[in-house]
């Protein structure tokens, strides 16, 4: 008798959950861990300031989010995915294949990546080429023979005689992280490209070029410190000769502990990233399924909240959290595209 009632209640619970699955009353968001802190701020304001429920946000990483997002249309699939890079052609095609045809792309702003060390030591002035020569797995042969050799550098002085003779020791995120991808693409490849013959190589064999210019050395100087940026900051504080790679918002929150190195003469500051002077910065996006607008309540309102001037504008609350806003012209263009719900075409 008891067993029967337990079974009955379980069946009831399961069936009620299935009805939830067929009409969801909150927005489901997945995607990048870099966009996550900005998205939660917007979602919270949206949830508390309107009659809609607060959106649910999962931090799955840009790639993982795109995969969930492109899986199909319907309330079982997320409505929005955040991304710290633009959607790839392949992902776009996967979306199309699964019936996710109309996607609205929203570029929200930029994020800088800091190459920072403890305040107890001097601030360094580096170029992307220095970072490449210090951290790439293979580097161009210094004898000028247009071949690659395994990276022999052990101190910063080896890399560039103007730099101090301290050991190269860089704490950074593991390969699963979007920050690592962006760092490899912007800093390592940026330095790689500064050799004209390597740049020419890109046209000949794109794959080999990418393998050379994106691969970080695995012989010790680059230490994978996990996804937790707070941990990296604390380790830098304890080890003044080490450098760390993390997002600008963490630098901004820990200004009394760490300082960002100057890259090509520019420190990672709000202004230098916004003006595009600081070279290691990346765009932040989110993508919306047009088919879900009007089906899942609140998506339009969420879009309005995100693209309001008080949110992503120069003085908006996202800038307080370390996001670098778009310039006025771009902001207006993106805002108009959102208002008209213009789908992305690739």
């Amino acid at each position: 008798m008891k067993l029967a009632s337990v079974l009955a209640s379980l069946v009831l619970i399961t069936s009620s959950s299935l009805t939830v699955a067929s009409n969801r009353d909150y927005i489901e968001i997945v995607g990048s861990s870099t966009v996550y802190p900005f998205a939660i701020a917007v979602a919270e304001r949206f949830g508390k300031g309107t009659k809609f429920k607060t959106p649910k946000i999962e931090s799955t990483g840009s790639g993982g989010g795109m995969k969930l997002f492109c899986n199909g249309v319907g309330v079982a699939h997320p409505d929005v995915t955040n991304s710290s890079r633009r959607i790839k052609q392949k992902e776009f095609e996967m979306c199309q294949k699964n019936g996710v045809t109309d996607i609205i792309e929203v570029l929200i702003g930029y994020d800088g990546i800091a190459f920072a060390n403890s305040k107890k030591t001097d601030q360094l002035s580096l170029t992307r080429r220095d970072i490449y020569l210090a951290l790439a797995k293979d580097i161009p042969n210094p004898d000028g023979s247009e071949t690659f050799i395994a990276n022999p550098h052990t101190t910063w002085k080896d890399v560039n005689s103007a730099l101090p003779a301290t050991k190269i020791e860089v704490l950074g995120p593991p390969p699963t992280s979007g920050t690592r991808d962006a760092f490899a693409e912007l800093a390592i490849e940026g330095g790689c490209k500064s050799f004209p013959w390597v740049k020419a190589f890109k046209k000949v064999d794109k794959k080999a070029y990418k393998a050379r210019c994106h691969t970080i050395r695995e012989d010790g100087p680059y230490i994978e410190a996990g996804e937790n940026d707070n941990l990296i900051v604390n380790k830098l504080d304890a080890n003044p000769s080490a450098f760390g790679v993390f997002g600008f918002s963490f630098l901004d929150q820990n200004t009394e502990k760490v300082q960002g190195a100057l890259i090509e003469g520019f420190a990672p500051t709000f202004e230098s990233i916004a003006q595009g002077d600081y070279s290691i910065s990346r765009p932040l996006y989110f993508y919306v399924k047009k088919a879900h607008i009007g089906v899942v309540p609140g998506i339009k309102g969420y879009l309005r909240e995100f693209t309001a001037d008080g949110t992503w504008g120069d003085e908006g609350y996202l800038t307080d959290r370390g996001m670098i806003p778009l310039n006025t012209v771009k902001r207006k263009a993106v805002g108009d595209a959102v208002k008209n719900q213009t789908p992305l075409s690739m």
Binding site: L3, V6, S16, S17, Y26, I57, E58, A76, Q253, T255
Partner: protein
């Protein structure tokens, strides 16, 4: 010249004593090392987490003017939900500090109160008769202000290296001197869901999420585990098949928990189409994880009931079923419950399998049922430990303290049950 046995014993005696002494010393040292590690852990967690239980509040006199709130028609519910609650706070701050005039300074002034404080005003005004009246309330201060009050910000640093400007420091000092800025018990920490603002973030959502998840796990795993144990121990024939099952149950107990998460994703989400991030699915996945623990401990409990009880019952004419349910099971139940509680404590601290089914998420609304999106306590700790805001550091440790408290509580209930009901034969 012959040496008797006693000589050999005497010659080795000192060596044997020394050996025993060494072994005792090693044992003592390892226990001390373990205790030292535990102490270090507890001291770091408590010393950083203690601050999470207090929070700075600012006393403000709010003029709940319908015009500032932009409520023209008190009958209109929409106007109430979209009312400008922060506007009232800003107005009150301007009146409190009339000499702050420049736009830049005003912006700084507004930031001494939590940007989410409008929500507290909203809550307050659930009592709609307050419209048009003047009330004095304590509102949570911004996390930077809180850090200053708690001494986490070094005032001796030059202004450009500090997160809080000189102007803001002077505002804070003025409020402290007039008694309008005080540290109070952090109510919000225990009554709110997650938030992007540390001062508005709480663990109630995660606690309820853990509660719902554990209820599902308990309701499923305990009956299934006990039934499986009774069948295997009392009814099943001893053959190759049951041996095979037994080996597999023991193996399952050692499978890394993330594997159960992957299973849950494949079976419950993709195949059955259950929603992501809900306690129902979390509970089912944790059931799979705790089942082996419960089955094994239940079997041990059944085994420990002496055969004389069974034989006596059978001898008096009870059927096998009656023997087991009326005599063996009641005696084995305390041991089974202990196993169940320990299994639940294990499930309470689990994050990895929940990652795969979407329970690692930002959820503000407090879950009210088994099918509302929710996170659990350890996930909340994980999410906060990864947040850039400094004030989340102490909240992370605070949440760890709460989680540890629950674990200690559950384990002491298990110990108590054992002490109280267990019978020695």
């Amino acid at each position: 010249m012959s040496r008797s046995t006693i000589d050999i014993v005497n010659r080795n005696l000192a060596k044997r004593y020394a050996k025993e002494k060494r072994f005792r010393l090693f044992g003592l040292v390892s226990i001390l090392a373990g205790l030292a590690a535990l102490c270090f852990l507890m001291v770091t967690i408590v010393s950083t987490g203690w601050g999470a239980f207090t929070q700075s509040y600012i006393q403000l006199t709010l003029d709940l003017d319908p015009e500032v709130l932009s409520i023209s028609d008190p009958q209109d519910d929409d106007q109430w939900s979209y009312a400008n609650y922060t506007g009232v706070i800003k107005k009150s701050l301007r009146e409190r500090f009339p000499d702050v005039t420049s736009r830049r300074d005003k912006k700084r002034l507004y930031r001494i109160v939590s940007p989410g404080a409008g929500y507290q005003v909203n809550q307050l005004m659930q009592d709609r008769s307050l419209l048009g009246q003047t009330v004095t309330v304590w509102l949570p201060a911004d996390d930077d202000v809180d850090s200053v009050i708690k001494g986490h910000i070094d005032r001796s640093l030059p202004e450009n290296e500090r997160r809080v400007s000189d102007k803001k420091l002077s505002l804070i000092d003025e409020l402290v001197n007039s008694g309008q800025l005080k540290r109070k018990f952090n109510n919000i920490f225990f009554t709110a869901g997650d938030s992007s603002e540390p001062e508005q973030a709480g663990i109630k959502g995660a606690m309820l999420g853990s509660f719902f998840t554990l209820i599902v796990a308990l309701l499923l795993s305990f009956p299934i585990g006990v039934a499986a144990a009774i069948y295997l121990e009392e009814f099943a024939p001893k053959n190759a098949w049951t041996d095979f099952i037994e080996v597999n149950i023991n193996n399952l107990a050692a499978v890394p928990s993330i594997v159960f998460g992957l299973l849950g994703l494949a079976v419950f989400l993709n195949w059955f189409g259950l929603p992501r991030s809900v306690p129902l699915v979390g509970g089912i996945v944790l059931t799979l994880m705790t089942l082996p623990t419960i089955i094994i401990s239940s079997r041990v409990a059944l085994k420990s009931v002496p055969p004389s009880i069974r034989e006596a019952a059978l001898g008096l004419g009870a059927s096998k079923m009656q023997t087991i349910f009326d005599h063996v099971l009641p005696l084995a139940l305390p041991g089974m419950l202990t196993g169940g509680i320990i299994g639940m404590a294990q499930a309470l601290g689990e994050t990895a399998p929940l990652l795969m089914i979407g329970m690692v998420a930002f959820i503000v609304d407090i879950p009210g049922s088994f099918t509302d999106p929710a996170t659990v306590l350890p996930v909340q700790i994980f999410l906060w430990s990864d947040s850039p805001e400094r004030a989340f550091v102490e909240r992370t440790s605070g949440a760890i303290m709460v989680l540890l408290m629950f674990l200690i509580l559950m384990n002491s209930i298990a110990v108590l049950l054992r002490k109280r009901f267990e019978r020695r034969w």
